[in-house]
């Protein structure tokens, strides 16, 4: 008996019934403002009135203090690698080939990291404290998304000591 016939005789114990999920994202004031600025090629965070830490992307409140954040701070496009992982699994629908680097990045002047891709360097050269810069897509491709930045790439600046990454300067 061929394998195909054998398979046909296997009792059916389940069928695939995929779930598709489309949803409208309600960003809220802070994130809507952030995304509006990202569409213009700018990175704008918010400072906590209580602990003075700067959040990017801002979510409208400081989760440490439990207070609303209103003061906007435009931040530069340079960042420091707080930590990272080298991923060996492909991203569905993304042309990037594994292994690639996903880094926790702290933009200069911010006190929290976000995830983004790191490229234009050897994976084995990536390290905690490394200085990087945003590489933006062509402005014609900009939308309301962090994907306006294609990836971050290394810059020729001295590493930041790990203990100082993301810390308030005067703290």
């Amino acid at each position: 008996m061929s394998d195909a016939n054998k398979e046909a005789l296997e009792p059916i114990t389940g069928i695939e019934s995929p779930v598709y999920l489309d949803y409208n994202f309600t960003a809220g004031q802070a994130t809507a403002r952030f995304l509006t600025k990202v569409k213009e090629g700018k990175l704008v965070g918010q400072r906590c009135p209580s602990c003075r830490n700067v959040y990017i992307p801002p979510r409208g409140a400081c989760a440490a203090c439990g207070v609303a954040t209103n003061e906007e701070v435009e931040l530069p496009h340079k960042a420091t690698v707080q930590s990272f992982t080298i991923v060996y699994i492909p991203i569905p629908g993304n042309p990037i080939k594994p292994p690639y680097v996903i880094a926790n990045l702290v933009v200069d002047g911010a006190n929290i990291s976000f995830l983004h891709l790191l490229s234009e360097c050897k994976n084995e050269d990536v390290r905690i404290g490394m200085r990087v810069e945003a590489k933006w897509k062509d402005p014609s491709e900009w939308g309301f998304a962090m994907e306006n930045i294609q990836y971050f790439a290394p810059i020729d600046e001295p590493d930041v000591p790990a203990e100082e990454i993301g810390r308030l300067k005067d703290a």
Binding site: V19, T31, C51, T85, I86, N104, I112, H116, I149
Partner: protein, 387 residues
């Protein structure tokens, strides 16, 4: 607490890649029925049912507790569903214990499960949000950078993670219910397994499992009548914190430290390494053993990886404080149930009912679970004696 509570019945399914023979309802009923059998009770003896389940998005079934009502015999009885991401198995047991301790119910059946073969956890954990690039990195991608930071701070030997991967699989080989059965696993095999999220290798990560775990928890009066030895609940604690905030300590979260302090104080534990006979701790990626050894106060800061390498947590090395004798999450991971399995296995140890992975004469054990971005913690201490 007004009442003492104890675990009087434990039921677990076999953990495996696919339970093709049963639906989700069949899976939970299997565990529940085994827990009732273990306690020599019937459905009629149960006052309330408490179900725990990780995110609904995993299997794509919204509010599964509605559909599980009749499978769990709770027609006409109070039932409640708990959710705290990966720690849910632990928090569900604590909710059940709290209801008994409060005097509200005398005897509760509590069940948790996951059917990962009908689920896509990677997809469920990676839904697109415009303020973040869509990288689909899953749990491994989230925890790997935190592990890297632990390794940087402590200058840990890379062997520590590999050692945990081997040790927990050797423990799992003693437990017939464990999903992975790898009695001949070696350090070399783990080291040569494919890198997934560097520094995490395939064999340093948990499997995807189907399975369910159930407990019967009763008050003191009923526990005394129980045919088998009860596991007395000596302390329970939960803590949570936001996923992200400025200055958050991700390597050793504050919520974990506080939760441990609370539960130790209730149980009179002052030196966890000495006072406990064993612990079942949620370690889905090998490096979380040394990290939690420090977070939970079993090791000094920066020393957890040394304790692991020295074999202190290994049954096979005759360690003084074996961790995850059942094989742990690294050997079986039906996500929603994984926390309750830790709690149940801690109870099995102090009941002296842990088979080939029994720690001789175990009297006091810790059960631990964590979830979300290492932001939900649930712990209990169980003992062979009431106090």
């Amino acid at each position: 607490m007004a009442e003492l509570a104890a675990v009087v019945g434990i039921g677990q399914t076999k953990y495996q890649t696919k339970h093709k023979d049963v639906s989700i309802a069949g899976l939970v009923r299997d565990a529940a029925f085994k827990a009732l059998q273990d306690a020599e009770l019937t459905w009629d003896d149960i006052d309330a049912v408490i179900v725990g389940k990780a995110p609904d998005m995993f299997e794509g079934m919204v509010m599964p507790e509605l559909y599980l009502t009749d499978a769990l015999g709770c027609n006409g009885k109070p039932m409640l569903r708990v959710h705290t991401a990966g720690s849910v198995g632990g928090s569900t047991a604590i909710v059940a214990a709290s209801y008994v301790q409060s005097g509200m119910f005398k005897r509760i059946l509590t069940v948790t499960y996951e059917k990962q073969s009908e689920s896509n956890a990677m997809w469920a954990l990676s839904n697109a949000q415009p303020f973040s690039p869509h990288l689909n990195a899953g749990a491994g991608g989230f925890f790997a950078p935190i592990i890297r930071e632990y390794m940087r701070r402590t200058q840990a030997s890379p062997e520590a993670g590999i050692k945990v991967a081997v040790k927990d699989r050797l423990h799992g080989a003693r437990n017939p219910l464990a999903h992975l059965q790898l009695p001949n696993i070696t350090m070399k095999e783990v080291e040569e397994s494919p890198m997934l999220w560097e520094p995490l290798r395939f064999l340093e990560s948990c499997p995807s499992s189907d399975g369910a775990c159930a407990l019967v928890i009763s008050n003191e009066e009923l526990a005394k009548q129980s045919p088998k030895k009860p596991a007395w609940i000596r302390g329970t604690a939960m803590r949570s914190e936001p996923t992200m905030y400025a200055g958050r300590e991700e390597v050793s979260p504050r919520a974990g430290i506080d939760c441990a302090k609370d539960v130790y104080a209730q149980a009179g534990v002052t030196n966890p390494r000495k006072d406990f006979d064993c612990a079942e701790v949620y370690v889905p990626f090998s490096w979380y053993e040394p990290m939690w050894l420090e977070n939970l106060g079993f090791a000094e800061k920066g020393e957890g990886w040394k304790m692991t390498l020295e074999g202190a947590t290994s049954l096979d090395d005759n360690g003084d404080i074996p961790w995850n004798c059942s094989g742990g999450v690294l050997s079986s991971n039906p996500i929603g149930a994984s926390g309750m399995i830790r709690f149940a296995e801690a109870a099995r140890q102090v009941r002296g009912d842990a088979g080939d992975h029994q720690v001789d004469g175990a009297k006091l054990a810790l059960g631990h679970a964590y979830g979300g971005g290492a932001q939900f913690f649930a712990m209990w201490v169980v003992g062979s004696e009431k106090a």
